[in-house]
């Protein structure tokens, strides 16, 4: 059962091949047996999961089921779950039990999905290796000496190790796509504003976007159908109507123009990764797509612009953690100043503190124009590059990451080299464009992700390309052998 896709499991539930309770028990058992090797989950509430499964079975029996009714889904522990601890991977929220649900959680509840558990992540989604969690690093199911990527590393590892059929993630600079690539699964970061941010703990509010992580593009489409849509409670939620993201999956790729940014295929790209991407592009070409050389001339500004804008927004967002209303509070504060400064010293980890400090600096008097405003202007230039490129092509393709998963500890003491991991993924967040990572081969036995970037609200188009690619290849069906995951 655990090796089936969401689409297959949904059919099995409808055919009464198994019940949601049986399905949920299967995955709970897999978590019990295997998660000690991977540390993908922060919180699993078996009672809550099984009661959700029983309700789903009743709904299935009544004939009022939706596509996801009875399917167990793991949620990144950044989505607030009413009555269930939501840690965001931080000591600051180790004791935080939200009094409300994120809109994404409500939408999955409405669809009848089962909340399987909450997955590990880099603290406040800040990281590219999942080594920044208060709950310890997540291990890559393909090789537990490797990182799973981050920040949605727990979600990626849970799906890769078949401890969940699908999961949610969030992506501020690559946090869905990079771990999806490293763990050999499919992940989609939708257009900014496509999925509600309400109750999704904020890191950088103009970049953050929630999305699905699953084994196939079809499964991502099924999840996105539940997640996408306007939310009046999120003032940045788009009013553009959501679509049925499964409707165009089978469309032909004949005549599709795919842009290959030459800046994404140069120094710094691992050779074995490049070979996988070239082979994937040939497959798309064989299906009738046309490959077009394009340029994104301001690509070199992407990392510096992101690492000003995201920390600046983080320093503002994370000022809410003050030890007064919820979350961690230091012992015996001498006065209010001591309460604030010691609570935040104790509650935040090193990388979160670094980003808050960089952001505070960039926003402080005398530096605002040189840093924050300059970065926002660079963001416009980067966004304009994509607008121009996407006038001439339908989608953009390239590698998700410069290389496959690296060893645990290899970059954890060097923030800059960690930041360079995001070189190909950050721009889609700065420009607000939808981006996907699709399994596209193995480099020295480690999964490689093909990245697809589309126009605003072109999620259906990306899913179509990814699905057609997966119809012709079997990279997405490969299972990691480590730890008995298959």
């Amino acid at each position: 059962m655990h090796n089936q896709t969401v689409a297959q499991l949904a059919q099995g539930l409808r055919d009464k091949a198994f019940s949601s309770v049986e399905l949920t028990e299967t995955f709970l058992q897999r978590i019990n047996e295997h998660d000690a090797n991977y540390n993908a989950f922060v919180t699993v509430d078996e009672g809550r999961a099984l009661s959700g499964a029983r309700a789903a079975d009743q709904r299935l029996a009544s004939g009022a089921a939706s596509a996801l009714t009875g399917i167990p889904i793991a949620h990144k522990d950044i989505f607030c779950t009413e009555g269930l601890r939501t840690s965001c991977g931080s000591r600051m929220l180790d004791n935080f039990v939200p009094p409300y649900n994120a809109t994404v959680i409500n939408r999955f509840n409405d669809a009848g999905a089962v909340l399987l558990g909450k997955t590990n992540l880099d603290e406040f989604a800040m990281g590219s290796s999942n080594e920044n969690s208060y709950y310890g690093p997540v291990k890559n199911p393909w090789d537990p000496t490797l990182v799973p990527g981050g920040s949605s590393g727990g979600s990626a590892a849970a799906v890769a190790a078949r401890m969940a059929p699908a999961a949610t993630g969030t992506d501020t600079g690559g946090s869905i796509r990079q771990p999806a690539a490293f763990c050999g699964i499919t992940g989609l970061k939708p257009t900014y504003g496509r999925v509600s941010r309400l109750g999704m703990i904020a890191y950088a509010s103009s970049l953050d976007q929630g999305g699905p992580m699953a084994r196939t593009a079809e499964d991502c489409a099924l999840l996105l159908n539940a997640m996408a849509g306007h939310d009046p409670l999120d003032s940045t939620s788009s009013e553009t109507p959501a679509e049925d993201y499964t409707a165009n999956l089978e469309n032909s790729l004949k005549g599709l123009r795919i842009g290959l940014p030459r800046e994404y295929f140069c120094d710094g790209l691992d050779g074995a990764t490049d070979s996988c991407i070239q082979a994937a592009l040939k497959e798309l070409e064989a299906q009738g797509a046309e490959l077009v050389d394009i340029s994104l001339p301001n690509s070199s500004l992407t990392i510096p612009a992101y690492y000003i804008i995201a920390p600046a927004e983080a320093s503002t967002n994370l000022s809410r953690f003050d030890g007064v209303r919820y979350g961690h509070r230091c012992e015996d504060p001498a006065d209010l100043h001591d309460l604030y400064t010691r609570t935040r010293e104790e509650g935040f980890g090193d990388e979160v503190k670094r980003r808050i400090l960089v952001g505070t600096y960039a926003l402080s008097a005398g530096y605002y124009d040189a840093y924050y405003k300059k970065a926002q202007q660079a963001r416009r230039l980067i966004s304009n590059d994509f607008s121009q490129a996407l006038d001439g092509v339908d989608i953009i393709a390239g590698p998700t990451t410069p290389g496959p998963a690296f060893a645990l500890g290899a970059k954890s003491n060097d923030p800059i080299s960690m930041y360079l991991e995001d070189v190909y993924t950050l721009a889609a967040n700065l420009a607000g464009l939808p981006g996907m990572s699709v399994p596209a081969g193995l480099a020295d036995g480690k999964p490689v992700g093909l990245q697809l970037i589309g126009r605003h609200f072109a999620e259906a188009g990306l899913l179509n390309v990814a699905h057609r690619f997966q119809q012709a290849t079997d990279w997405h069906t490969m299972t990691p052998k480590a730890g008995g995951a298959d």
Partner: protein
């Protein structure tokens, strides 16, 4: 751009994060490295470029000025570190 330790101290104070004396050297070093990396931006020609705050260039939506939420003070204060009589408690501010 190099940044001095006392400047990090000022930034940390603005951010209300205590940094232990024995860590200030390393934090200063890391922040200096990050600022050095982002300084690549200074070479970009951004004259006349409109800053981009929202990737869809959306503006803040307003809603009707009506009460739509119910008062959930008890639920919200149930998770607070210290409350009394419906108020959040902090150390004494005024002597």
């Amino acid at each position: 751009m190099a940044i001095e330790q006392d400047e990090i101290g000022k930034i940390a104070e603005l951010a209300r994060i205590r940094i232990a004396d024995e860590q200030i050297g390393e934090v200063t070093q890391r922040i200096t490295e990050i600022l050095g990396m982002v300084d690549q931006l200074q070479a970009a020609d951004t004259a006349g470029v409109e800053p981009m705050a929202n990737p869809l260039d959306a503006t803040q939506r307003l809603r009707a000025d009506e009460v739509t939420e119910i008062n959930r003070r008890e639920a919200f204060q149930a998770i607070a570190p210290a409350v009394q009589n419906g108020l959040y408690l902090v150390p004494k501010v005024i002597e």
